[in-house]
Symmetry: C2
């Protein structure tokens, strides 16, 4: 039986030409995070299931790929009708970071500035542009209470966009503690606040009237009007009055970012929530006019680490949505040219193989990239291969060349051939 | 309830200081594979279960982490007592490559030279030095029949060891088709050949007498003696006579590698099998005297792609055991020094924050690595942090410095402090 050669639904393979841009972007992100003083960490792809479930992950918990128990444990679980899985693939990088920090805090600087670029997995319904395996690029500061942590994180992310020549990014800013106070002031009962937040967060995807209509099914008329004045109002004034101190902090963050990042617009947006329910303070999101949804975001999650026995440690973090960033770069035509090897060496014949090996070896020892054809074959096929690989020069040593102690060089851009010695090969321009 | 903060048993977290060496080594491998004309690919971490099971993976199939079906499909599977999992985490990179090639062959050069550096997962019993998630570094040539493909793959791997200053590597070489012929000649019945191979492969872990004893339980006395003469003999002569053509090819590979890689020893070893049962021709393994087991290996698998409907395409590949390589480098003391940020900026006070932000931003714009403390704090604590991060210089701007338009620079190696302007900061040596 022949097997299907497609990856599972919602999963992807990457060909060399697609990887070029992805690797360049990932290296840029990593270099910039590093230049801001963040250090790389890695965690395991699989986590114990209890780390991934329970408060923290919100909606994403339903999307966990769970690992089936094995051997006796599986038999036992089936017999006793217990949980069949013991581990799960991480669905974000924030929960693993919290666990990581709790495990290793005595070995880490305080505050701890970490970054983590790695795949996460979500069992979402597969659809265009939504994948079940995708890269996240997180950076976090654990142990810093001051809002300058937010400014550093947002600035580092904006610098990535700058470096990749993406202009027109807007930073949307809000504060979940201010939202909480506003909802309280508006008279929203505690048990309904989460539902109201989820609804307001949809403002950019749903018509305003629809939001108002759904709001009226959640709370009474007066409360609904208060919510609209405070969180959906045209002026920020009433929102500012809810808690002048929290609002002043938001303003500080906003003006610092504007001052430090000349290319970015910053906008305080009372309806911005950022889905995850572990946020406790400022939240932010990056958007671009050419992209529906966000390019990334983050916020302060001062209580997430309690779950792992680390009480009262402030923390905040941000993340770039890698797949959306790649999508945007492709949209903007910022694709990088695929660069082939500088040299291709054709193998003239079985007898010439040792000389071809030797030439490849000499050039590689000098740091050159050399693609040697694996074994003798028709020269026509070998040159076709060299074109496919986008090699810059083809080199051939046949019996004539050996006799003259020369190398035949074909410039694959111009098609011009010449006979030269090894020194001349080294001097060929890129 | 407080959760355990350890990763699951057999899994690891990596702290910044441990990642430094891993990332350096992984970049070296990637650069060298590239310089040999190999191109990077990536495949999905999860594969449909039927890709991973069935002929190909041998013993490793038992070690698959399987992903539990979700939603209705799980309910249905439980009711009907069907397979509970639909996907599994890859346990090597060769099966995914074979599937990848079958899926995308029309878009790929022929022959196709690919490399893939990525994690794989195996549900092995956790023990010291054996992990359930680890990195493999594969390179393969699909579509090349000639033994020069083997020479290129082995040479690329040897160059990695050279570059990492690992000397004393021995390449063990054999040919599975020659083994097959030898077993036939010795009179081993077809159904017992696999068991004999598995036994002979243990020669470096088991006393010779024990091998002979177990051999006698598998085959009759005369056959056992023939096997010993052909495959465990002191001289290679009788092995060479089994198939002069195959043996000559092995000798060509061996002498080419010796000629091209001055630092490596090559040894033809008739008992070398390399576990996986998909190998059909030459196989090889890299060993180092300071390491039990191998540093990597590979071989020719001319029939693996048939499974995915690609008939009669020759292929061979090799792999570096990344975790063992790291272990060896640590053993040899080849650890890389952890490099901290060049600049640490202390935040003197809330009032001085904008100036500190500005200084960080200016230095970063010029490509410098700058760790800014997130918010004002006791200077003593900030300097302690700078030491933990191994920063080279600490910079402070307080009210005095602002007045003089200067920056206070502390050399964190010597402890010497001085007042200088921005230009002088830029000129500080590394």
């Amino acid at each position: 039986m022949t097997l299907s050669s497609s990856p599972p639904s919602g999963f992807r393979d990457f060909l060399p030409k697609n990887l070029e841009l992805r690797q360049k972007v990932s290296q840029t992100i990593s270099a910039i995070y590093r230049s801001f003083g963040f250090e790389a960490i890695e965690t395991s792809a699989l986590e114990n299931l209890e780390v991934l479930t329970g408060k923290g992950g919100g909606e994403n918990e339903k999307l966990i790929f769970k690992a089936l128990k094995r051997g006796e444990k599986l038999t036992e679980a089936l017999e006793k009708k217990e949980e069949l899985a013991d581990m799960g693939l991480r669905f974000d990088l924030t929960l693993p970071l919290a666990r990581f920090y709790a495990a290793h805090q005595s070995l880490l600087p305080k505050p701890f500035k970490a970054f983590h670029i790695a795949p996460v997995w979500r069992a979402e319904r597969a659809q265009k542009g939504r994948y079940r395996e995708f890269i996240q690029c997180d950076l976090d500061i654990i142990g810093a209470e001051h809002w300058s942590a937010e400014v550093e994180i947002i600035s580092a992310i904006l610098k990535v966009f700058d470096e990749l020549k993406i202009s027109d990014v807007t930073v949307f800013l809000n504060d979940r503690s201010l939202v909480e106070e506003a909802l309280q002031k508006a008279g929203v009962p505690e048990e309904k606040r989460n539902a109201v937040c989820i609804l307001l967060d949809k403002l950019d995807k749903m018509p305003r009237e629809k939001i108002e209509e759904e709001l009226s099914t959640l709370v009474d008329k007066q409360t609904s009007e208060s919510i609209q004045t405070l969180l959906l109002g045209k002026s920020e004034n009433s929102y500012a009055e809810v808690s002048p101190a929290s609002y002043a902090r938001l303003k500080e963050i906003s003006s610092s970012i504007s001052r430090l990042n000349q290319n970015a617009r910053v906008q305080i947006t009372p309806s911005l929530m950022r889905g995850f329910d572990y946020y406790t303070g400022p939240v932010f999101e990056f958007r671009h006019p050419k992209l529906a949804g966000s390019l990334g975001g983050g916020g302060r999650y001062d209580r997430l680490l309690e779950k792992f026995g680390v009480p009262q440690i402030p923390a905040c973090g941000g993340s770039i949505g890698f797949e959306r960033l790649i999508l945007l770069l492709e949209e903007l035509g910022q694709m990088s040219e695929v660069s082939g090897p500088k040299f291709f060496i054709a193998v003239f014949s079985e007898e010439m193989l040792p000389r071809s090996f030797e030439l490849a070896s000499q050039l590689r020892a000098l740091g050159q990239t050399v693609d040697l054809y694996p074994g003798p074959a028709k020269l026509k096929n070998q040159f076709k291969y060299a074109d496919q690989k986008k090699a810059r020069y083809a080199l051939v040593i046949g019996p004539d060349e050996v006799r003259q102690n020369q190398i035949r060089i074909k410039d694959l851009k111009t098609g011009i051939e010449k006979l030269e010695d090894f020194e001349a090969v080294l001097k060929l321009p890129d």
